[in-house]
């Protein structure tokens, strides 16, 4: 009796959690089985449950825009930004605007990039950066690449500045952080398109809209890294600043920010990569450049030429990533005493000399100034031939795979998801939440998916859920063994991690090229792209988790006479699982992003509606759809984080 009494008085007892979860699972099962007997209101979200959020958002937006006159502010800001964009556009590709100096000869830009690479990380990066620009020029893509770069050059510094500002405020004020953190959570899980619609409404389309959406999209990581960096400054360094008699501003300017340098530069790296990803996607709102070209070519199914552009984007991504990462880890080194001015500024002098030389040469040899369409090389013909051959060879396999997946997997799965009563899904999710994190998590799950049901897009959301679930499942089947294989030796792990790093720098758009090539434009291609995109973080975190197991524990297992397999299953995997789950979490996030992007090659999920909202500039609808996607991500994030933290604590790893 006493035992029962104490149990009742402490509802969060460990035993009661599985019991409640079991009850909810059973209830979900009953609801599903008894579907035919259920009232309609439990099968589909009834009308009274669907609230017109989109109309409300639209009302709020038009109030802010017109009645509060925010549109004038945003237009003024956009015009200011445009004049800066005109400067870079003029310099990089000779747009006819002030200062009317451009275009700078491509050879000068290439040599500048090489010098930056050399200054940051030596010869190899120099060669890579220089050759990237040679490739762009030689392939006749200079104009488009410069259109893209001219926006990044403006957007990235603005983002970094805004991120520093907001991050510092967030670090300083706990109250501001309280507002900021949830906003950042939603912002970082909101699909790209959700950002575009309000921008189209407020700014319009074109390069400046592209720049603004890029800025908004790339600010969150900078804010986070600024807060993190400032928090991580060792207290002794701050105290040393205090004892030196630094004022608050001096402390921030001379002590905190410089000491947080590495985190801030990691933030800069993330900003640059986010910028590139977004600027490519911004082609959907009329942003000219590589992205737009790629979009056109993909839609026209010109595989060879889109591969060319894809290579350019990939090269740019790797170059920007390597340069900014190398900058982040680069530490100052002292010069010998008595070094002359010339030697101190050796690189600067050499750069100036090279610029002068190449500029002069480009006046003599126009080909160093600009490579016209006619002189440009193209790999399109041989690429097309190779691709045709590959596609032709693989055709029976891909044909069969396509047929099999569509007929036997995708359609049944989709129909199954759509058949499920929405009440059963909600109860099921609550059961999962309860099993993992108790009442609170159950309510979080109910809250997120309940809102999705209330948004009125339940069926579409279920299609997204099924695509993502299936894709992450396949990605796990691929990524997990690959990760285990990759973690066998240190050298192999490093090599695989390098590949993963590189793949992760690619803008998501790139992943569509190979799947469209192989599967054409259909659901299988979408799933393929999502699987590719989502497998990368899985491989990565599996390796990091397995390699991160403390050496002492491995040695203890070895000395206990465990075989390699026993060590893997009994020691490495259990200890690595929390880290691996972080990979699954990221994998789900990536899948959601990709599924929405892939919508333009034809899906019937939330992404397709998002595309429609974009083309009709429907802010409210776009936001509702975006938030629906975001809530799915946030729910998974919540569950996995709760689970992983609990597990880490239990294992004594935190």
């Amino acid at each position: 009796m006493t035992v029962a009494a104490t149990n009742a008085s402490a509802p969060m007892r460990p035993q009661s959690r599985p019991r409640m979860a079991q009850f909810l699972f059973a209830a979900a099962l009953c609801l599903a089985v008894a579907k035919l007997a259920l009232p309609d209101g439990l099968v589909r979200p009834p009308d009274w449950l669907v609230w017109p959020f989109a109309d409300w958002f639209n009302a709020v937006f038009s109030f802010i825009r017109d009645d509060l006159g925010l549109i004038h502010v945003t237009r003024a800001f956009a015009d200011g930004l445009e004049s800066v964009l005109d400067v870079t556009a003029n310099l990089l590709y000779g747009k006819n605007r002030w200062p009317r100096l451009g275009p700078i000869p491509w050879s000068v830009i290439a040599i500048t990039a090489a010098m930056i690479g050399y200054a940051i990380n030596g010869w190899r990066l120099a060669a890579f950066a220089g050759l990237t620009f040679v490739w762009i020029a030689a392939m006749g893509q200079w104009q488009w690449a410069m259109e893209t770069l001219s926006v990044i050059i403006v957007a990235a510094p603005v983002s970094v500045f805004l991120g520093l500002l907001l991050g510092t405020m967030g670090w300083k004020s706990a109250r501001f952080r309280l507002v900021l953190n949830p906003l950042l959570n939603v912002a970082q899980s909101l699909p790209h398109f959700a950002y575009m619609i309000p921008v189209v409404v407020f700014i319009g389309v074109g390069a400046k809209a592209g720049a603004i959406v890029t800025i908004i999209f790339s600010v969150p990581p900078m804010i986070r890294m600024t807060m993190l960096g400032l928090q991580k400054v060792p207290s002794e360094v701050v105290e040393a600043g205090h004892m030196a008699g630094a004022t608050r501003w001096q402390l921030l300017r001379h002590v905190r920010l410089p000491t947080a340098r590495t985190e801030l530069l990691v933030g800069v790296n993330q900003v640059i990569m986010q910028c590139l990803a977004m600027v490519v996607l911004a082609s959907f709102i009329g942003m000219p450049g590589l992205g737009q070209k790629l979009l056109q070519l993909l839609q026209a199914l010109k595989i060879g030429r889109s591969i060319e552009i894809g290579i350019t984007i990939v090269l740019l991504a790797i170059m920007l990533d390597r340069c900014s990462k190398a900058w982040a880890v680069k530490q100052p080194v002292h010069l010998e005493k008595g070094t002359s001015w010339l030697m101190r500024h050796k690189l600067l002098v050499i750069w100036a000399a090279l610029v002068a030389v190449f500029w002069a040469l480009s006046l003599v040899f126009p080909i160093l100034h600009e490579i016209g369409r006619r002189d440009a090389l193209s790999l399109a013909a041989p690429l097309d031939a190779i691709m045709d051959w590959i596609i032709g060879t693989l055709d029976p396999v891909t044909q069969w795979l396509r047929w099999f997946l569509i007929v036997w997997v995708l359609i049944p799965l989709r129909d199954g998801m759509l058949w499920l009563p929405f009440s059963a899904v909600l109860v099921f999710l609550m059961a999962v939440g309860w099993a993992i994190g108790g009442k609170r998590s159950a309510l979080v799950c109910l809250g997120y998916f309940g809102l999705i049901a209330m948004s009125g897009w339940w069926d579409r959301a279920m299609i997204t859920v099924y695509t993502v679930t299936f894709a992450v499942f396949i990605a796990t089947l691929i990524g997990f063994p690959l990760g285990i294989w990759g973690s066998r030796s240190k050298a192999r792990a490093q090599a695989v991690l390098l590949v993963c790093d590189t793949l992760q720098t690619f803008p998501s758009f790139i992943y569509l090229i190979p799947v469209i090539m192989l599967f054409g434009v259909n659901d299988v291609a979408v799933v393929g792209a999502v699987v590719l995109f989502a497998a990368v973080p899985l491989v990565r975190y599996t390796i990091e988790g397995l390699r991160g197991v403390p050496e002492a524990q491995i040695e203890a297992a070895d000395m206990s006479g465990a075989t390699r397999r026993q060590t893997l299953w009994s020691v490495r995997l259990p200890l690595a699982l929390p880290t691996i789950m972080v990979g699954v979490n990221q994998s789900v996030m990536f899948s959601l992003f990709m599924v929405i992007i892939a919508a333009f090659i034809g899906t019937q999920d939330l992404g397709q509606e998002m595309q429609r909202a974009l083309s009709s500039s429907d802010v409210g609808k776009g936001l509702v759809l975006g938030l629906a996607v975001s809530f799915m991500g946030l729910m998974v994030d919540h569950l996995i984080t709760v689970w992983a933290n609990r597990r880490r604590r239990a294992l004594g790893l935190s």
């Binding site: 002794e236 040393a240 030196a244 001096q250 410089p258 100052p332």
Partner: protein, 343 residues
Amino acid sequence: MSPSQPVISCRNVWKLFGPRPESYLAGLDPAAGFDAIRADGYVPAVRDVSLDIARGEMLVIMGLSGSGKSTLVRCMSRLIEITGGEIDVDGRVIGALSERELIDLRRNKMGMVFQNFGLLPHRTVLDNVAFPLEMRGQDIHARRARALEVIELVGLAGREDYFPRELSGGQQQRVGIARSLAIEPDIWFLDEPFSALDPLIRREMQDEFLRLQAMLGKTIVFITHDFDEALRLADRIAIMKDGAVEQCDRPDRIVMNPATDYVAKFIEDVEKARVVHARALAQPVDGQTLTGAPVDGSKTISQLARLLVNDDRAILPVSGPDGRVIGAMDRQQALDVLLGAAQ
């Protein structure tokens, strides 16, 4: 300000960590112990500490980790606000200073050395050392000249263009010391300055530190968890436990007369003869007749060992710094210190 006035004076200083420390302290039973306060959900980092530090004195605060010694020194420099009591620095209540006044005090009177050096990673040795001068707005030439002077003083001449991470631990702490001395502070705080160094370097740095102190004669608060280090350096030692000062006295007096069981446990393994000076054993002469040459009162018993064993006088005269007899030492008592009391 009179020269006899203490430079730093702590009166009933309390530092509590917890949800509402001030109101909790106000209602606190003065006899409440460490565990009672912990049980109420507060961490008493400093408990009712009263200390005076005289001009030119070196006070070593000794305690194990978590004893509150680092917190206490941070209260003295007001890196941490105290919960109760009062701290006077140079006759001014430090808790009542405005931000501006506090900054001025730190810019002109205080220097601090940190356990993990607290150097700015992006600045060269020279710029690190010149940092406090830069903060108070000195022009670049004056601060370079002064920084070079201090760098020379700590023996790092020729390294001024290096970055901290290019230096060894010992060298980095020399930079930390140079930085703390750049503004010519009157008060010098050292928070476990040598704990992060390996033993050989630590010894070398202690010698270096004694050399500097002999030259500069600053008022010093030195934190350590190493009792031998404390004995080696201190004019006075304050031993802390659970936030309270257990005993604060000259090293040989602590060794001879531990005030509490905790202190007694600490000195168990200390070789007393190396710590106790002859003058500490000297009793008033009281009309006894003293014969023969006096022993030097500033020598330790272990330094006098040979003499003590070979001499046959029962009572030895002890001389002060000027050579005059200041007292008489019982030879048997001295031998007990040297060899341990007879069983």
